[in-house]
């Protein structure tokens, strides 16, 4: 695993020592190379995980997330080039350093064996993200957004620290590779109920669960493009990944403790999808759509069947790529009109037809069109929740419908219809932007040919 971590850390001296005209080229190229190294991890030969050392490992759940993380860094760098072009060189280097630091912590989080090390790195990802949101965001609301983001996540995760230490006290080791073999049922007591809550709340806030989702629209909307991309694509998945890892230790309380969260998620996905239909702010729409998709992942993780785990993993990867692509598309609109209002940039298909093709593909994958991996994820989740309780099919079906509604609403508002009269002075699409969209879409489409690599560790 050091073959990925050390090059990523060395990206930082690379940015600081690069010349002014080579800075973007250097960092984007080398981060693409690093992502190619991580692709080799997708080859998981045995049923057990690949153990690299006592500290790092990779298994069929963390490998796709790791590949997504490393794939996203060059994309983030490409997307940030325009809005940073007017900044002094030192600030560009600081921005890239923040992204690289965040990337290092994310890679180490996804491959950590020891759960306390996972926790420390999980918290460590907050600091660069906070700096990116508050320092380089564009509106005054970003200060509030940064505070909400930091404090919601910290309030949830401090009980997790206490819970992890008390589990270590009980079991003697928090090494994940050991725990999966040692696993025993938690005795039934009040304090174990609180232990369950303490373990899960950190990830619920991160996902986010419907009642605790207030930080997400603020943070996503106020962040610059790279911040939005990494938040939507990876940081939310940290919550899902953590939940998938820690629910193995928390039986049998999960069978009854999960009910309130299942209700909140099932209801929340309908509510947030419906709110999307009434949004005027494009980034806010995509942010609420993220909440809705992640609510599906929460439902899948809490049901705890093999099919639902497969659906959760597939949905996480698919949503990561789709959501990040939608934010890039929204950003291309923002860079032209300097406003996030949807109707200010409508009818773009006549002016930018290639970008309209990307909008179409992104909206289609967002509404989970077959045969994309979005569909595979959603379908598995719907099927397993139907088998858990037949009535959920009503809510799930309503959610799929409303998701289709708002995705098409977004597509039609921005692309179809008559263009506005002030739109004739926008710049045509840059090659960089088209490359960005292509690099998002290609993995998404190719994965539909071989989805088994993203189906996680319950695929057999």
């Amino acid at each position: 695993m050091l073959k990925i971590i050390i090059p990523t850390i060395m990206l930082m001296p690379l940015t600081w020592l690069s010349k002014k005209n080579m800075i973007w080229i250097n960092t984007t190229t080398y981060s693409l190379l690093i992502s190619l190294i991580s692709l080799s991890l997708l080859n998981q030969p045995s049923n057990n995980s690949l153990n690299f050392s006592l500290m790092f490992f990779s298994d069929p759940l963390s490998a796709p997330l790791l590949v997504l993380t490393t794939w996203l860094l060059p994309l983030m760098l490409m997307a940030s080039q325009h809005h940073l072009s007017k900044e002094p060189l030192i600030r560009k280097k600081l921005y890239i350093t923040m992204l690289t630091m965040l990337q290092t912590f994310l890679i180490m989080t996804f491959t950590a064996t020891e759960l306390i090390s996972f926790y420390i790195l999980f918290e460590a990802t907050l600091v660069p993200t906070l700096i990116i949101i508050t320092r380089w965001g564009n509106q005054t609301e970003r200060l509030n957004a940064g505070l909400y983001f930091l404090f919601y996540t910290l309030m949830g995760s401090l009980p997790l620290l206490v819970a992890l230490i008390s589990i270590q006290n009980l079991t003697g080791s928090l090494n994940f590779l050991l725990i999966q073999y040692w696993n025993q049922a938690l005795p039934d007591s009040w304090s174990n109920i609180f232990l369950w809550l303490a373990c899960m709340m950190a990830f619920m806030v991160k996902m986010p669960l419907y009642g605790l989702h207030l930080w997400l629209p603020k943070a996503h909307v106020e962040a610059p493009i790279a911040g939005s991309m990494v938040l939507a694509a990876i940081l939310l998945k940290l919550g899902g990944y953590g939940m998938l890892r820690i629910t193995t230790m928390l039986n049998p309380q999960t069978s009854f403790m999960a009910y309130p969260f299942l209700m909140l998620s099932l209801w929340g996905m309908i509510m947030t999808s419906s709110i999307c239909l009434r949004q005027t702010d494009l980034k806010s729409l995509i942010a609420y759509s993220s909440v809705s998709h992640m609510a599906l992942v929460i439902v899948a993780v809490l049901i705890q069947t093999p099919w639902s785990y497969m659906g959760a993993t597939a949905l996480m990867i698919a949503h990561g790529l789709t959501s990040s692509m939608l934010f890039c598309l929204a950003n291309s609109n923002y860079e032209r009109t300097h406003s996030r209002t949807m109707i200010l940039a409508r009818g773009l298909q006549t002016l930018l037809p290639l970008m309209a093709a990307w909008w179409l593909l992104a909206s289609l994958t967002n509404l989970a069109l077959p045969p994309s991996i979005n569909l595979i994820g959603e379908l598995f989740v719907v099927m397993s929740s139907f088998s858990w309780s037949n009535i959920t099919i009503i809510l799930m079906g309503a959610n799929i419908t409303i998701t289709a509604l708002y995705s098409l609403y977004m597509l039609i508002t921005t692309q179809r219809g008559k263009y506005t009269h002030h739109i004739n002075s926008i710049k045509p699409s840059f090659t960089r932007e088209n490359a960005l969209m292509a690099l998002h879409m290609t993995p998404l489409l190719l994965l539909s040919l071989n989805p088994k690599i993203i189906l996680g560790f319950t695929y057999c």
């Binding site: 420390i120 918290e123 600091v127 700096i131 404090f151 309030m155 230490i165």
Partner: protein
């Protein structure tokens, strides 16, 4: 002040603390405290104005009261044990009185009222000495009597200190008062784990001193005493804004910076001793501290040009020399990976 006299007085302060830390006779410890107190009064009053006089008077009164209580505890201990050697204090009355006296010296709740007012009234350098060096002597005595301290009283004072340190700092814009409330909260963390593992108290003290030294050095460098004047550092030395950001995040206890290490170790030690609600509560209340540190970073480093700030630029005085800033910065932010080394302390 005449440099020779200033050196003599400073050396007396140092000597006083050293006497406290190294004596085995209770009377010598009391003498050490008194030497420390009397010698630090002229240092607090380096600038001669009514505000410093008020601060020095408050400091003198509280510390003298605490020394008298300490003397009473020593005498009761003498009555019941018949000897002057410093060991665990066996008599519960003496132990409680001694704990209260030392809490008064440290600034733990409910004896915390003097800390913000005294820190605000004196200059930044004197405030630095007050909040770091002066804590060493009482803490060393607490370390030595730690097996006999009444757990209930100490834990109550610790938790209340963390609460007061968090909530009290929320309404402040003066930097010295913010550092004072931060000191109260950190003292709370230190005394909470004293009975379980005094080594962690010392670890927390060490890292707290490093972080406070760093913060004060950065404030002295930009000669700023309010939040508004701190927001001008990006004009004078933009690098210090980043350093202020890193050190404040470290004081708030965010991983992966070294300020997280004492909090993590303390939570671990408390959880191993089967108290679970207490560390959770302490950790959540430390978030209040983080909130006002974040507010400081917002006005200093995270909102910069082209947004304007409301402060008139000050006259450019000569840059004050900062001693030892690079090692301090490194130590107060990058020590977390060295945590496994703590096993040598057992």
């Amino acid at each position: 002040m005449n440099p020779l006299i200033f050196t003599t007085i400073l050396m007396t302060v140092l000597l006083g603390t050293m006497i406290v830390m190294m004596s085995s006779h209770w009377l010598m410890i009391w003498i050490g405290f008194e030497m420390n107190l009397l010698a630090i009064i002229p240092i607090l009053m380096k600038k001669y104005n009514p505000r410093t006089m008020e601060a020095s008077t408050k400091y003198f009164l509280t510390q003298a009261t605490a020394s008298m209580l300490l003397m009473m505890a020593i005498i009761i201990n003498l009555m019941h044990s018949g000897q002057w050697t410093i060991t665990k204090v066996f008599n519960p009355t003496a132990s409680i009185i001694m704990t209260s006296a030392l809490a008064m010296k440290l600034g733990l709740t409910p004896f915390h009222f003097w800390v913000p007012e005294v820190t605000q009234g004196i200059s930044l350098t004197s405030g630095l000495i007050l909040l770091t060096w002066q804590k060493l002597a009482p803490m060393s005595i607490l370390y030595q009597i730690s097996p006999s301290i009444n757990l209930n009283i100490l834990l109550t004072m610790a938790v209340l200190s963390i609460l007061v340190g968090g909530w009290g700092g929320l309404n402040q814009t003066q930097l010295r008062k913010i550092m004072a409330y931060s000191s109260i909260a950190h003292m709370g963390w230190m005394t909470a784990v004293l009975v379980y593992s005094p080594t962690l108290t010392m670890l927390n003290m060490l890292i707290y001193i490093m972080m406070t030294l760093t913060m004060f050095m950065l404030f002295i460098h930009s000669s700023s005493t309010t939040t508004l004047s701190l927001s001008h550092t990006w004009n004078k030395t933009p690098l210090t804004t980043t350093l202020i950001l890193i050190t404040l995040l470290s004081m708030g206890g965010l991983p992966p910076l070294s300020g997280f290490m004492p909090k993590w170790m303390i939570i671990q030690e408390l959880t191993k001793n089967s108290s679970i609600i207490l560390p959770t509560l302490m950790a959540i209340m430390a978030l209040l501290n983080l909130y006002f540190y974040m507010r400081l970073t917002y006005s200093t480093s995270l909102t910069m040009f082209p947004s304007t700030n409301n402060m008139k630029m000050k006259w450019q005085f000569e840059t004050k020399r900062i001693t030892l800033l690079p090692p301090l910065i490194v130590m107060s932010s990058l020590l977390l990976p060295l945590t496994p080394m703590l096993s040598i302390l057992d």
